[in-house]
């Protein structure tokens, strides 16, 4: 029996997720894996997906690929919205928490109050993997030499520039680097690009 014929071009309250669940979540996962393995390298989002209010396309794709019912999510005041909560609950089935300390994944924008960063879980010596990952939705990422990165996954140095990165971020990041093997990993998600700063990457600000 043939499948029913679908009609595109309508905008419902609840947006669709991946069109091909297995292939698209796989492609996004691979991109995130590459980005984490090669800190500061910029990768294009391999798919296109509908994003709810409060989240951008890359952050939405990341969420759908990485988050499930076992990973509590915290949304910053700048990106929390009814649509975003509904979208994540429906497609990921994840709990949304009020306290950043309880989250495995945190979504924020750079104009948020960044004090939540120091409340995020950093893991412990036995289980450093129990740390949180923070996804910053940004306007643009480039390889302009604003930050010079060194560390595992980088042969010599690597350049990265993130539009609107405040000094408070670097202050927090310097503390975060001293916690190894614990610490929080950072993902920068512009609307169509992704770059990562794992906890091991050292940043020299120009």
């Amino acid at each position: 029996m043939t499948a029913p014929h679908t009609t595109s071009g309508i905008a419902p309250d609840l947006l669709p997720g991946f069109e091909h669940d297995a292939f698209q979540s796989n492609a996004v996962f691979r991109t995130v894996l590459d980005a984490m393995s090669r800190p500061g390298n910029i990768y294009n989002l391999p798919i296109s997906i509908a994003a709810p209010d409060g989240l951008n396309e890359t952050a939405t794709a990341f969420a759908l690929a990485m988050i499930d019912m076992d990973t509590p999510v915290w949304l910053s005041p700048a990106c929390i919205s009814g649509a975003a909560i509904t979208h994540l609950k429906f497609h990921c089935g994840c709990p949304i928490v009020d306290d950043a300390a309880k989250a495995d994944f945190a979504f924020a924008r750079l104009d948020d109050d960044l004090s939540f960063l120091s409340r995020l879980a950093v893991g412990n010596a036995e289980y450093p993997d129990q740390s949180a990952t923070v996804v910053f939705m940004v306007d643009a990422i480039s390889d302009h030499p604003d930050m010079i990165l060194t560390g595992p996954g980088i042969k010599e140095t690597h350049m990265l520039s993130v539009a609107g990165l405040p000094a408070a971020f670097h202050t927090w990041r310097r503390e975060n680097t001293t916690l190894f093997p614990c610490g929080v990993d950072v993902i920068f998600a512009s609307p169509h690009q992704i770059a990562a700063l794992p906890r091991t990457t050292r940043i020299e600000v120009k």
Binding site: P12, L14, P16
Partner: protein, 175 residues
């Protein structure tokens, strides 16, 4: 995909609280609208794909809709009660396919059907959405319900004919 706790049961438990654990043994109370939806969703889930497809193509072929969650195949734990009314126990896992669709006006239809038929899940979700929107498929659902009831009764009658009653005339320990 792994089995997820249904949202209804989760909220049901938080509402009842821990001081009413006995209450959790009974089914959660539902309102009339939910009961009606539960009824047609269960009828649709038991209807084979060809029947659903034929009726859809014949009556609703021009309805605009979009997939919200493409059909996914997964497992759910089926629970039973000892003797039909006793303690709950996990009977075993079964394969289910779920699907969610949305109509042009934003009505969202869901379906969970047993087995691995993605197309059946899609049609069942579509009929759920149409029923939510304006109840247009009510007579179709009633027809299906009637047919399913007949099949169930015939089956029960066949089984009943083979029933054996055991009884004991004399037990050894009475001597």
């Amino acid at each position: 995909m792994t089995a997820q706790t249904a949202p209804q049961s989760a909220t049901g438990q938080s509402q009842h609280g821990q001081n009413q654990n006995a209450k959790n043994q009974t089914e959660p109370e539902i309102d009339a609208a939910t009961a009606a939806r539960k009824y047609w969703m269960s009828i649709l889930a038991r209807t084979d794909c060809n029947t659903l497809a034929t009726h859809w193509q014949g009556n609703y072929a021009d309805v605009a809709w979009q997939t919200l969650r493409a059909p996914q195949i997964g497992m759910v734990m089926v629970r039973g009660r000892a003797g039909g009314a006793g303690q709950r126990f996990n009977l075993g896992e079964m394969t289910v396919t779920r699907c969610s669709v949305t109509l042009a006006d934003g009505t969202i239809g869901h379906a969970y059907v047993k087995g691995r038929d993605r197309t059946q899940a899609e049609y069942a979700a579509l009929f759920d959405a149409v029923m939510l929107r304006d109840g247009a498929a009510q007579s179709f659902i009633d027809d299906l319900a009637q047919k399913q009831a007949v099949v169930k009764r015939d089956h029960a009658r066949k089984i009943a004919a083979t029933k054996v009653d055991f009884f004991t005339l004399v037990r050894g320990e009475d001597e």
